[in-house]
């Protein structure tokens, strides 16, 4: 699949459009919201969707649509932050591990094994339980488990690139180690990193809202998509719309990242 044929895929076009909308909502959600997301009005509690409140009202009469719009900042923003930080950590570790080899490689990879043995949600919950819930703790807990993926990927590619002639040429002509890694080895990793980051974003958004749903994520009253679902769950029998719409927001954004990630991977594998 090349770029032009990718543009003919209707699913992918939809994904790009959704991604664009998600980015706009993440950046300007609070400005687009028709109501104040934390303003309560008990007279409209549990009201189903109406003209004034497009997605209905929650248990305190707050506008669900506005809460979803404002919640994007946390759900998507935190996901992006986690991926960027763990990507930075993992790529650095992977480059060092793959380039240096030997004992350093062995050590870094065993550490990766250790971090890898903690399932993401379980580790993040444990941190939340021990350190207390909070945005910063959540950020570190998720990055703590996520960086290993990048480290493994980058190490593998670096190992094979290291033996290429142009790297040897660079080494022989006296280019310093750091420059060789950054100028010559990192670019060879870039396309794979981009693919993994895109799919990683989908996973991170799911993880952030999963922890919100369990009650260990962003703390109320700040809206976040997973937290909105948790709040809605208690009223699932009387007001199912509260459990429905925040989930659709999560699914659409995750879907757009996954579809674009798949397309990027296809393009890359055809180029090889």
């Amino acid at each position: 699949m090349n770029v032009r044929s990718a543009l003919k895929n209707p699913l992918l076009i939809a994904a790009v459009v959704i991604l664009f909308a998600v980015i706009v909502i993440t950046l300007f959600g609070s400005m687009l919201a028709p109501h104040d997301p934390v303003e309560t009005d008990l007279s409209v509690r549990f009201n189903p969707p109406s003209l004034k409140y497009p997605l209905g009202n929650d248990s305190l009469g707050r506008c669900l649509f506005s809460r979803i719009l404002c919640g994007a900042r946390m759900s998507i923003g935190l996901g992006i932050a986690v991926v960027l930080f763990s990507c930075f950590l993992g790529v650095t570790a992977g480059l060092i591990s793959g380039y240096c080899g030997g004992f350093v490689d062995e050590l870094i990879m065993r550490i990766v094994d250790i971090f890898f043995s903690f399932p993401e949600i379980v580790a993040a919950m444990a941190v939340a339980g021990l350190m207390g819930p909070g945005t910063l703790n959540l950020f570190f807990a998720l990055s703590f488990v996520n960086w290993t993926r990048y480290a493994r990927l980058v190490r593998g590619i670096t190992l094979s690139v290291r033996e290429r002639d142009y790297i040897k040429a660079a080494q022989l002509s006296g280019v310093s180690r750091t420059v060789t890694i950054i100028r010559h080895i990192l670019p060879a990793n870039l396309s794979s990193i981009i693919v993994l980051t895109t799919i990683g974003l989908a996973k991170a958004i799911l993880a952030v809202s999963a922890l919100g749903f369990l009650g260990f994520g962003i703390q109320p009253p700040d809206p976040e998509w997973g937290t909105l679902l948790m709040e809605g769950k208690d009223y699932i029998l009387s007001a199912p719309h509260l459990s429905l719409y925040p989930g659709i927001a999560i699914m659409l954004s995750v879907l757009s990242f996954n579809l674009i990630g798949d397309a990027l991977r296809d393009i890359r594998s055809r180029q090889r």
Partner: protein, 312 residues
């Protein structure tokens, strides 16, 4: 082969030491005085705890000793499965984990069965007939399945089957009817994931040289598919189903919360809410160890199945 297994055991042991070290360290760096926390949890409330009690607990639990000493002491008990006593439930942690894990296992097994029953035919069909409408449909459904938050899927199933159709109980543990929705919730992501892996494994096998050789020898398509492609494409599936265990443990935390399924995930959520330190510690350690064990087994089985690796 034996050499390899020994090597893997050494690596697994290293992970065990590292994982226990982290788990124990995490406890130590938790904010607040550990002795005070234990005292509060045990005697219920700040006002019932005095300085003498805290000192007593500190001595008894060895909290006044250096970190490494405490860690080694703790490790010695962990090896004989003594994970301490739950602060809130006042039952041995190992006992709690053990009984709850059986329920999670039951759920996980049905989810894997669902996943394989759906993913294997769709994955094979999609891989063999790449680009057909059935393949495109399978691919689309699979990517939606991967993207669907399982907690939301659980809620939607409840709205549909319990609230609207009144067919299944909303939550709880009991007969098979309680199992249906949790198993589907847990199995959906697995199904989607397995389908994708199997499909690309088949496509990759189809492009391999030995397959061209087989075709050139005039061996019928059906025989090639049944005997050669499937056998090779199932190798990654074995790996994936094993590795998916981590996914299942994560999924179990959420699925069990949605459906109040009394398994290990549900236990974890309550342990974290109660700040029941020994229980959190035990659970984190347990999941990490199960994960290490499964990875180890998958690695050995994988090498055994693939003669290219076994013989080299």
């Amino acid at each position: 082969m034996l050499n390899l297994i020994l090597k893997r055991i050494a690596a697994a042991f290293f992970v065990f030491i590292g994982a226990t070290f982290f788990t124990y360290g995490m406890m130590m760096f938790a904010p607040g005085d550990a002795a005070l926390e234990i005292a509060i949890a045990r005697y219920g409330g700040h006002d019932r705890v005095d300085g003498a009690t805290i000192e007593w607990i500190k001595k008894k639990e060895g909290l006044d000793k250096p970190f490494l000493y405490q860690y080694c002491h703790w490790l010695k008990r962990v090896v004989v499965l003594d994970l301490g006593i739950s602060l809130v439930r006042e039952e041995p942690v190992w006992q709690l984990i053990y009984t709850r894990f059986a329920r999670t296992f039951e759920l996980a097994l049905s989810a894997i069965v669902i996943a394989l029953l759906i993913a294997v035919p769709i994955g094979i069909l999609g891989g063999v007939k790449q680009g057909s409408w059935m393949d495109s449909m399978g691919v689309t459904i699979a990517v939606i399945g991967v993207s669907m938050p399982n907690y939301w899927l659980g809620l939607v199933l409840i709205i549909l089957f319990s609230v609207k159709l009144k067919l299944l109980p909303v939550f709880g543990y009991g007969d098979w009817r309680h199992m249906v929705m949790p198993a589907i919730t847990l199995g959906t992501a697995l199904t989607a994931y397995t389908t994708r892996i199997l499909r690309s494994a088949i496509i990759e096998t189809l492009q391999s040289d030995y397959l061209i050789a087989l075709r050139a020898r005039g061996i019928s398509n059906r025989l090639v598919l049944g005997k050669h492609i499937l056998k090779n494409a199932l190798i990654p599936v074995v790996t994936v189903v094993g590795l998916e265990f981590g996914m299942i443990l994560e999924g179990a935390v959420i699925t069990e919360t949605v459906f109040a399924w009394p398994g290990i995930g549900d236990l974890m959520v309550t342990a974290v809410s109660d700040r029941d330190y020994p229980l959190i510690q035990g659970l984190v350690l347990f999941t990490a160890m199960v994960f290490v064990l499964i990875n180890f087994l998958v690695d050995v089985v994988y090498r055994y199945l693939d003669p290219r690796i076994r013989l080299s």
